[in-house]
């Protein structure tokens, strides 16, 4: 089978790589670029641990081909902070202790930013509904929801 040269912007930097047709975006991020903040949880499009943004929209990188997003702008958890200054969503997760084991956290944060970008005035119910594609196996949803509600206030300024 063939290999494919791809080029995309990841966290503001242009990157290139050689991938197989079947190489997933999450594999490209983790194994080719060493960006291991994006996690593989279920690998079946259900748990959301692999959430990244592609051209500004939150998506599950375990269910995208790397070749699929050739030419796109990709944002991962590593691209959120500005130096030592955390993104407001990261800061809210820290402040509200919105993580226990931390495995789902990168996906939760990326998904949550997508939700706030779409609607910065979510009710608690809308936040909970919006997280239906992200699983926390520690079941720490309460503080995750609190963090997102707090972060949306900061994000809308």
């Amino acid at each position: 089978m063939s290999s494919y040269s791809i080029k995309m912007t990841v966290n503001g930097k242009e990157v290139t790589g050689e991938v197989e047709g079947r190489t997933l975006l999450v594999q490209f991020l983790r194994e080719h670029l060493g960006l291991t903040g994006t996690h593989v949880g279920c690998d079946t499009t259900q748990c959301g641990a692999c959430a990244v943004h592609v051209d500004g929209r939150a998506m599950k990188s375990c269910t995208l081909l790397a070749a699929h997003v050739d030419g796109s702008d990709v944002l991962t958890i590593e691209g959120l902070a500005d130096g030592d200054t955390l993104h407001p969503m990261q800061e809210a997760f820290r402040e509200h202790h919105a993580l226990q084991c931390g495995f789902c956290t990168p996906g939760m944060v990326m998904s949550a930013i997508g939700l706030v970008n779409d609607n910065p005035n979510m009710s608690e119910k809308e936040v909970r509904h919006g997280l239906e594609g992200n699983f926390c196996r520690c079941t720490g949803y309460h503080n995750i929801v609190e963090a997102i509600l707090a972060a949306q206030e900061t994000m809308r300024g």
Binding site: M1, G21, T44, Q46, T63
Partner: protein, 262 residues
Amino acid sequence: MYDFEYHRAASADDAKSKFGGADDARYLAGGMTLLPVLKQRLDQPSDLIDLGDLDDLRGISEDSGNIVVKAMTVHHDVNTSDLVKSRIPALAHLAGTIGDPMVRNRGTLGGSLANNDPAASYPSAVLALNAAIHTDRRTIAADDFFEGMFTTALDEGELITGVSFPVPEAAGYMHFPNPASRYPIVGVFVAKTSDGARVAVTGAGACVYRVPEMEEALNADWSPDAVAGIKVSADGLNEDIHASAEYRAHLVTVMAKRALAA
């Protein structure tokens, strides 16, 4: 996932030509169903033809009493479209129940219909609204399109370009989702169309299907009460760890009532 040759189509014509030049190709739209299928090694295409660059297959418009949704339009865009929300709110609602927000950012109408999963949501709207499926070579009526489990009237290499949904007098959709996958265990779309009431059920059987006895009752009285006493047969319905055939049959009536009350 078995490996395959990957191609990116520059146009619909290019997609068809690349499809024709391959041994055993599949079109790749959003990939929200196809990629999981490939990961499970349930399919082994020689080539994938990515339709992601076909921007002229995206968009929503109104055309002589129809809402026309192009094939590569993602669920999020149908869910949040002011046009769809004002003309067929039940269709916007249905699009917002598919998967989760991240799946809705990627998955497409055309991909859902071409795949025809027994538990896909969109087929119920297409069938109940008596929509027309446009392809690169013809227009197929909803009643003729869905042939069976993962089977449609599409010919090899035929490409869905869009769907025309006639605006109904009234419509509603309600589903009972699987708690993990969010696919409907049973979903019911009801529509009061110019040809009378139409009721389409997804998730319960091998393929989306209509319920004539409910349609007859709704032609006489468009209300939840009209269907409340109608029990559908469990014969041939799906049975798995999530729900028995009898439970699914019961849910058809419950979801129909709720869709009418919605």
